[in-house]
């Protein structure tokens, strides 16, 4: 017995190591499968409070930018009040006592995950099918086009960002309404895009706005960017190519609006029928 005690005291470091390591292992194995049930996590009073404080401080620092974007957005919304309505003035519908029927509804959502530096970028937002979001809806923000919804969960959705290899948007020049296609440039610059397949008869000007066309899944006239170079080096298609500076700063994206086109189902249904008939 005495020898045993001597042995233990001689190698006490090792035994203490074993005791605490096993304790930690038990905690690790036990609580990581029931993380929500444990009190050693950030729902804990102390850590939760501390995090809330620091978050307050952080949000205070970015208050100015948030204010700016809110006022810009208000201005845009005021201008849009009638623009987002579809005129429904067919005589027999007059009994409805309304001449406007809403075509676009906007669902606001906060960005909770974002990337700009990969070849294919996705954005996660905090609203899902419970809020009425469905696959294929367009997403915009106060500054312009953001992308389109590709995956929808109950509470979250994933947006295929404009900064994605596969994203192609039907665009138009704001002044002359000449149509073209917009896509992200190849050099991974989150501010540069390419407008191609614009008809040769068009006369674009430097600095002209590029907006969504009537053919896109977005409301017509949502800004995409500004023309920065009339003759792009990237050869794509056989018509006019031009470089575009993207209007949205994707690295600072905080709030977005999902566009719910009330007539999308009808339009898609009709178009599907037409394909069947051919």
């Amino acid at each position: 017995m005495r020898n045993l005690l001597i042995f233990i005291t001689k190698y006490n470091a090792f035994f203490l190591f074993i005791i605490f390591e096993v304790t930690a292992l038990i905690i690790y194995v036990k609580y990581n499968s029931f993380q929500k049930a444990t009190f050693i996590n950030s729902t804990n009073q102390v850590t939760g409070n501390l995090y809330a404080r620091v978050d307050q401080l952080k949000s205070y620092i970015s208050l100015r930018e948030v204010n700016d974007s809110l006022s810009l957005e208000n201005a845009r919304l005021r201008g849009q009040l009638k623009a987002s309505y579809y005129v429904d003035s067919v005589a027999k519908h007059k009994v409805n006592d309304t001449i406007y029927k809403q075509q676009y509804e906007y669902i606001d959502a906060a960005v909770i995950n974002n990337s700009v530096n990969r070849r294919n970028n996705y954005i996660t937002i905090n609203k899902g099918s419970r809020a009425g979001i469905a696959k294929g809806m367009g997403v915009i923000c106060p500054q312009g086009v953001v992308g389109k919804i590709v995956f929808v969960g109950d509470h979250f959705s994933i947006i295929q960002s404009l900064l994605h290899k596969e994203t192609i948007i039907s665009a138009a020049l704001a002044g002359t309404k000449d149509l073209g296609s917009f896509t992200w440039s190849d050099n991974l610059d989150p501010h540069a895009g390419l407008l191609y397949d614009v008809s040769n008869s068009a006369s674009p000007k430097l600095g002209e706005m590029v907006v969504t066309s009537d053919l896109s899944l977005f409301p017509a006239g949502v800004p995409i960017g500004k023309i920065s170079n009339l003759h792009s080096k990237t050869a794509k298609g056989s018509f006019l190519n031009m470089d575009v500076t993207i209007a949205v700063d994707f690295s600072k994206l905080q709030y977005v609006y999902v566009v719910d086109n009330k007539f999308a189902a009808e339009q898609l249904g009709l178009e599907a029928q037409q394909k069947k008939d051919e």
Binding site: L16, E21, Y28, N32, N41, S42
Partner: protein, 186 residues
């Protein structure tokens, strides 16, 4: 030759100073780790864990019976903020064990017993660098492998552990220089 003009057994006053200093260090390091370094990540690969400096700088005379609980509590505190109960605690206890082994191998009882703490300024660059290097590597590799717990991503995990270790060692050496006290050892 080492001329000690003070008793190596710390007096009561000295003792309380050491305890207060370590308590402050504990709080400061946890705050820095949780509110500053937790948000830092170089290319998603390199994340520093500076908080281990607390265990590294505990006095030489810290009895094992105190060292291990302290390491365990430090780990658990960090875990509370990282939402990973037990993970950092395990890594910290391993770190404490490696510390005991390393010090028992490299520090001669006759030569260094007078030194209260294994700091940069007291132990010199060579010893402190080796000490930091070995302890940090042990802690980080254990931590990252345990966190991922999957062999399919082993290369990525090892790269992360290595790059994070470099970052942490860099920060520890910087802090060592920052609090450099010009106390002559010889």
């Amino acid at each position: 030759m080492l001329q000690s003009n003070w008793d190596w057994r710390p007096s009561r006053k000295k003792m309380s100073r050491v305890i207060l200093l370590n308590l402050l260090r504990f709080i400061a390091l946890v705050f820095i780790q949780v509110f500053l370094l937790k948000n830092i990540s170089l290319y998603g690969l390199s994340t520093p864990y500076l908080y281990i400096l607390f265990i590294l700088l505990l006095p030489f005379e810290t009895p094992n019976l105190l060292l291990f609980p302290l390491a365990f509590i430090l780990g658990l505190t960090i875990d509370a903020f990282y939402d990973t109960p037990g993970l950092h605690a395990m890594a910290c206890v391993l770190l404490a064990f490696v510390r005991v082994l390393f010090i028992s191998i490299t520090v001669q009882k006759e030569g260094f017993d007078n030194e209260p703490e294994p700091t940069f300024s007291l132990m010199g660059f060579r010893w402190f660098f080796t000490y930091t290097l070995i302890l940090t590597l042990f802690h980080h590799f254990f931590l990252f492998i345990l966190e991922v717990f999957r062999f399919t991503e082993i290369q990525y995990t090892l790269a992360r552990a290595l790059l994070s270790s470099i970052f942490t060692i860099f920060l520890i050496l910087i802090s060592g220089l920052l609090f450099y006290k010009n106390k002559e050892r010889k």
